[in-house]
């Protein structure tokens, strides 16, 4: 179950602190369904995230493919997590705020 908040034209999803493969697999379908059905912008809130797995990095790419970077962004990344996205080279693909 996603922790969702709606603000005007945006849906913010607050992520759990430890995004391991199992958790990522559990939320993937819900996230993709949301991406396919909403007309609102979507942001993922990484404020509490301390670890992100390979699976979730790829989920982020799939969300970006569906929503485009106009409507999808990653927010409040800690330096540790921002570095992960930079090493993967995803800063060139995703909208990191």
């Amino acid at each position: 179950m996603l922790d969702k908040q709606e603000y005007y034209d945006q849906i913010e999803i607050k992520l759990s602190n430890n995004i391991k493969t199992e958790y990522s697999q559990n939320i993937e379908k819900e996230l993709m369904d949301l991406a396919n059905s909403t007309s609102m912008n979507v942001s993922l809130n990484f404020e509490d995230v301390t670890f992100v797995c390979s699976h979730f990095l790829k989920v982020c790419l799939r969300l970006n493919n569906t929503l485009t970077s106009e409507r999808f962004c990653l927010e409040k990344l800690t330096p540790e997590i921002k570095r992960v996205f930079m090493i993967a080279g995803f800063d060139k693909i995703l909208n990191l705020k």
Partner: protein, 472 residues
């Protein structure tokens, strides 16, 4: 680039990003699990390697897997490879270990499963994802080694795709991967073609190719012991280790004793006609390289192919030679139980012969000496251009760290002579970027020195030295 090749690179880069978050405890758990599974499968993997490649000997392939798993693990298990690894308060330097990124590992046919295990262990220990590139004639066993290691790593929550392997790679695929900016380092062990391609790719590479190991038996040595050890080394996996002895050099007055000992331990001393026949099957004159068909084969197999009639208990073919170079095929590296023997008039001529052999295709690799005279050992070593000079021990086993305290390794650095940046045995420490936090530590002599003097044309280095050091 083919989509499947691009996907491998993408996955490796993603794995590198995820791996960067792992702490030392977690890394060590993964490495331990991989060591366990590799060690537990040492025999089956050795069987697969011998069956698939037709090279070497089962018991020695098992021992290579032991070196690659147990010895390498014991050597690296307590090393700090994550985060802050050292702090020196006096110098104000703190060292931080960071991973390199994806490693492209080229695996040779001669040591397929062992090299794969060893490269996987040192890569995981340093949080670097690894892409294993097997030799096409050793693909099945290499991939099986990689697969079981990956399974064990994943059971300890390693990053997805931290170990990948490639199959049916064309030369073009290999070149594209080597040159890709997602690959941080190429660990190339194998034939000179691939090693040279790795160096030409523009990506940092540690490549190890040929050796040509001379062994000097000094008069002070225990000759029979030396010959026994040389055979143990040269016959190890039918001579497929590039640190195995290629030529024995002795002084004339030891000839009888040495030849007797060789015969006693199972060597067959070839005559000139037999040397010529064996040279033809062992060496490809056109390519100026050993013939791949005899690599890792037994003395009996080679003799049969050369049309030699040798005693049934022959283990090694010995060729007494007089020269070194292109016209003397057996003076170059042959990874099989064929050994050259040089008999020289005196000490200087014997050492000169070793230098010739060393410089004929073996610069930077390995040299060997049997001596009970420390001065001779040092004198000999100073004259060799070799990353490791092994003393009174089998060269194959000594160089890889089985019978010495050198770092256990299946990739032996050859220094600049071998186009390497290091003469070390390659291990985990070579797969790290070390960052240094440097705090201010002024040199008190420099601080109190009148800097205006630097701008005085008459102020000389001699005056400077006096001022800096006269009162220390």
């Amino acid at each position: 680039m083919k989509p499947e090749v691009a996907e491998i690179l993408f996955n490796a880069n993603t794995a590198a990003a995820v791996f960067s978050q792992y702490n030392q405890d977690h890394v060590d758990r993964i490495v331990k699990a991989v060591y366990h599974v590799a060690f537990d499968n040492r025999i089956i993997l050795a069987e697969m390697a011998v069956e698939e490649t037709g090279l070497g000997r089962l018991e020695d392939k098992v021992m290579k897997n032991v070196v690659a798993s147990q010895m390498v693990y014991y050597n690296i298990r307590n090393q700090k490879t994550v985060g802050i690894i050292s702090e020196d308060e006096d110098k104000g330097i703190i060292e931080i270990a960071q991973p390199l990124g994806p490693i492209f590992a080229i695996i040779p046919i001669t040591n397929p499963t062992s090299t794969a295990i060893y490269k996987i262990l040192i890569s995981l220990k340093t949080r670097n994802p690894i892409i294993v590139h097997p030799h096409r004639r050793a693909a099945k066993c290499t991939i099986e080694a990689a697969r079981i290691c990956y399974e064990a790593a994943m059971n300890e929550d390693a990053p997805e795709d931290c170990i990948q392997w490639v199959t049916d790679f064309s030369r073009e695929d290999t070149q594209q991967v080597m040159a890709h900016n997602h690959v941080a380092l190429i660990l190339a062990t194998g034939g000179s073609g691939l090693v040279n391609a790795a160096y030409s790719s523009g990506t940092p590479a540690i490549g190890v190719g040929a050796g040509n190991v001379p062994v000097f038996i000094d008069k002070s040595a225990d000759v029979d012991y030396a010959i026994k050890e040389i055979l143990e080394s040269k016959l190890f996996d039918n001579g497929t280790i590039c640190a195995s002895e290629q030529a024995v050099v002795i002084q004339k007055d030891m000839e009888e004793k040495v030849k007797e000992s060789f015969k006693k331990h199972g060597a067959y001393i070839m005559n000139a006609d037999e040397i010529e026949k064996v040279s033809k099957v062992a060496f490809n004159q056109e390519k100026q390289a050993m013939n791949g068909d005899i690599v890792g084969k037994s003395a009996q197999f080679i003799a049969e192919h050369a049309g030699l009639n040798i005693p049934i208990d022959t283990k090694l073919l010995l060729a007494q030679l007089r020269d070194v170079g292109e016209n003397v095929p057996l003076s170059s590296e042959i990874l099989a139980p064929i050994l050259a023997l040089y008999i020289e008039d005196d000490f200087d001529k014997a050492v000169n012969r070793c230098i010739e052999l060393n410089f004929y295709g073996g610069v930077g690799h390995t040299a060997s000496i049997y001596s009970n005279n420390d001065d001779v050992i040092k004198q000999f070593s100073l004259l060799m251009n070799a990353g490791r000079i092994v003393v009174n021990m089998p060269s194959s086993q000594g160089a890889v760290g089985l019978t010495s305290k050198l770092d256990p390794s299946l990739t032996l650095g050859c220094g600049t002579g071998g186009k390497n940046i290091t003469t070390d045995n390659i291990t985990a420490k070579h797969l790290l970027n070390i960052q240094r936090i440097a705090r201010r530590r002024d040199d008190f002599l420099f601080v109190r020195f009148d800097k205006k003097k630097y701008f005085d044309n008459n102020y000389s280095a001699e005056m400077l030295d006096k001022e800096f050091y006269s009162n220390i």
